[in-house]
């Protein structure tokens, strides 16, 4: 039985469909990623799961039992980290964690123990009595993670958890997630538009324009692309793409000003490709293994980094 099952979750904003019947099964212990560009519907899915929005239609099952998204059983088993910070700036790190624990009715003595554990785990013990207003983005994000976990949830819900973090903070954040997973008992559900972050998930749901287009492990998704990715930079990419399919019979697409070719063997293609064009036409040719960004491109026809029409923010008034 899946820990969490979504059935036909749908949400519209003034007639515009933001999420079009999302159905998913999340198994216990997974790190499940919702992958898609901005506007694909993953933020809407997150806000529904976080209890900030109400779904138009759809059902949610927790361990096989149907629950409302605002059901206390679901809410109390979930810890949530928001993309936009949600700490209380006027309170200290310790007070923020204590507040998080008490909000979920953790008894006072137990909450104190948990708070100290979390502070120690994140390496904040000696800064616990500082107000968080002056803290860096990476530290705050880790404190948000600690607050989301302080009541001992079974499901951790993260919205773009590493958005805006530098490389060191990104690694530190995922190191802590890895330790949690190793300890067992926690299922992680996160949204991301980063291919490198998606690769760290156990399973991925790929969203595009509010619809689920694929759901599989990162390896299985990457193997759908097959072979190598050859990228060509040229001053006239459209001509080069046309020439490639004409002369070499391979299909080429222009993505963000570069010619991208999916080839069974890149090594065999590149010499022929270089000889097919006169000197000076190609600025650079590169070869790499496919990534989840390529998978996304293949599944949807557009790049993961590109923005789709923005969803209205959660703070907008609904009618």
């Amino acid at each position: 039985m899946p820990l969490l099952r979504l059935e036909g979750l749908r949400k519209t904003f003034r007639g515009r469909v933001a999420l079009d019947g999302l159905s998913l099964r999340v198994e216990e212990g997974e790190v499940f990623g919702l992958l898609g560009p901005n506007g694909a519907g993953k933020s809407t899915a997150f806000q529904l799961l976080a209890g900030l929005l109400k779904a138009d239609t759809g059902r949610v099952y927790l361990e096989g039992r149907q629950v409302g998204l605002d059901d206390a059983a679901l809410r109390s088993r979930m810890g949530v980290v928001f993309q936009r910070g949600s700490l209380d700036e006027h309170l200290t790190a310790r007070e923020n964690l204590m507040l998080g624990a008490r909000l979920y009715a953790v008894p006072h003595a137990q909450a104190k123990v948990r708070v100290e554990e979390m502070l120690g785990w994140m390496g904040f013990s000696d800064r616990a009595d500082e107000r968080v207003a002056g803290w860096s983005g990476g530290m705050r994000r880790r404190l948000e993670l600690a607050r989301a976990l302080v009541h001992g949830p079974r499901i951790l819900l993260l919205d773009e958890p590493t958005q805006g973090l530098d490389e060191a903070s990104f690694r530190s954040f995922w190191k802590h997630l890895g330790q949690l997973r190793a300890a067992g008992g926690l299922t992680v559900l996160l949204t991301s538009h980063r291919a490198d972050e998606a690769a760290l998930c156990t399973r991925l749901a790929v969203l595009d324009k509010g619809k689920l287009v694929a759901c599989d492990t990162p390896d299985a998704l990457v193997s759908r692309v097959g072979g190598d990715i050859v990228t060509v930079e040229a001053s006239a990419p459209e001509e080069v793409a046309a020439g490639l399919s004409e002369v070499l019979g391979v299909s080429a697409e222009v993505v963000e000003g570069r010619v991208v070719v999916e080839a069974g063997s890149g090594h065999a293609l590149i010499p022929r490709l270089v000889e097919a064009f006169p000197a000076g036409r190609l600025a650079s040719v590169s070869l790499r293994r496919p990534t989840l960004a390529d998978v996304f491109l293949k599944l949807t026809g557009h790049a993961l980094g590109a923005d789709q029409p923005a969803e209205p923010p959660a703070t907008r008034r609904r009618r």
């Binding site: 806000q47 976080a50 209890g51 900030l52 929005l53 605002d70 206390a72 809410r75 109390s76 979930m78 949530v80 928001f82 936009r84 910070g85 949600s86 700490l87 209380d88 700036e89 006027h90 309170l91 007070e95 507040l99 998080g100 008490r102 909000l103 979920y104 009715a105 607050r147 959660a314 703070t315 008034r317 609904r318």
Partner: protein, 262 residues
């Protein structure tokens, strides 16, 4: 765990947080006390010489105005305490409460109780000046005063939460305040009695729920005889009942607001 205990936890956390934050901003504590004193002294002594209420000749304006200023303290501190709803939304903190296990009603109650505690604290400090306004131990009814103040604070903070939930910025909230809440206070009988006003104003004052706060406080501070000579509700029961209804209606409205908008 049961929803009930989660709701209690949410109420406690939110109320305690607002009180903690209030004491971390000393300017709020001082401003809340200094402003009504200044208001009472300046306006009160300004009108003192020219104010004569037929049927209540013994009542000076400083005395007449005093319950109105107590109501103003409750109103202003309720407003400033519920502005934190807008700040909490802007700073993102509100998200973690709404994603939490407490119901929407518990969020409203937590916010309103925290704000009411702050409002009552400020009003109590101002009430230390009551002897200067001619309140005596024999004229004072403490149980009535406390019930009127508590119900007024709860009703006004519920009004504040309902409004603040829909307003995007604290500037917008100030506009609502000066267009709606301040006129409500002026027309509550705080500054001038219903009897002397024109027919239109009289009608407005008659249906204004805030008048029951002022009238109830006047009765509690100066006794039934003074309350009757100024005019207004017939008994303490009417005043307390009306304020209770006022509070219940706005709690319901606040809860509807909070469940309708994320």
């Amino acid at each position: 765990m049961a929803r009930g205990s989660m709701d209690v936890a949410t109420v406690r956390v939110l109320a305690a947080r607002d009180v903690t934050r209030f004491f971390r901003q000393p300017s709020r504590v001082i401003g809340a006390l200094a402003q009504p004193i200044l208001f009472w002294l300046v306006i009160g002594s300004g009108f003192q010489g020219s104010f004569r209420l037929p049927g209540a000749e013994g009542l000076g304006y400083m005395q007449y105005f005093f319950p109105g200023v107590v109501t103003m303290v409750l109103l202003f501190s309720a407003i400033f305490a519920t502005i934190t709803v807008i700040e909490d939304r802007k700073e993102g903190f509100l998200q973690c409460v709404l994603a939490g296990p407490g119901s929407r009603l518990s969020v409203v109650v937590g916010k309103a109780l925290g704000a009411s505690a702050i409002a009552l604290l400020q009003a109590s400090l101002f009430l230390l000046f009551a002897p200067l306004a001619g309140v005596t131990a024999s004229s004072l009814s403490l149980p009535l005063l406390l019930s009127v103040m508590a119900l007024t604070a709860l009703a006004l903070t519920a009004v504040g939460v309902s409004l603040a939930w829909w307003v995007q910025s604290s500037a917008g909230y100030h506009a609502v305040m000066s267009l709606l809440l301040i006129p409500m206070w002026v027309l509550s009988g705080a500054m001038f009695p219903v009897r002397g006003a024109g027919p239109v104003l009289q009608a407005l004052m008659y249906v204004n729920p805030m008048r029951f706060a002022v009238e109830g406080m006047r009765r509690a501070l100066y006794g039934d005889a003074v309350a009757a000579s100024v005019g207004g509700a017939a008994s303490a029961l009417v005043e307390v009942g009306a304020l209770g209804l006022f509070a219940v209606v706005f709690f319901a409205l606040a809860t509807v607001s909070v469940s309708r908008r994320p």
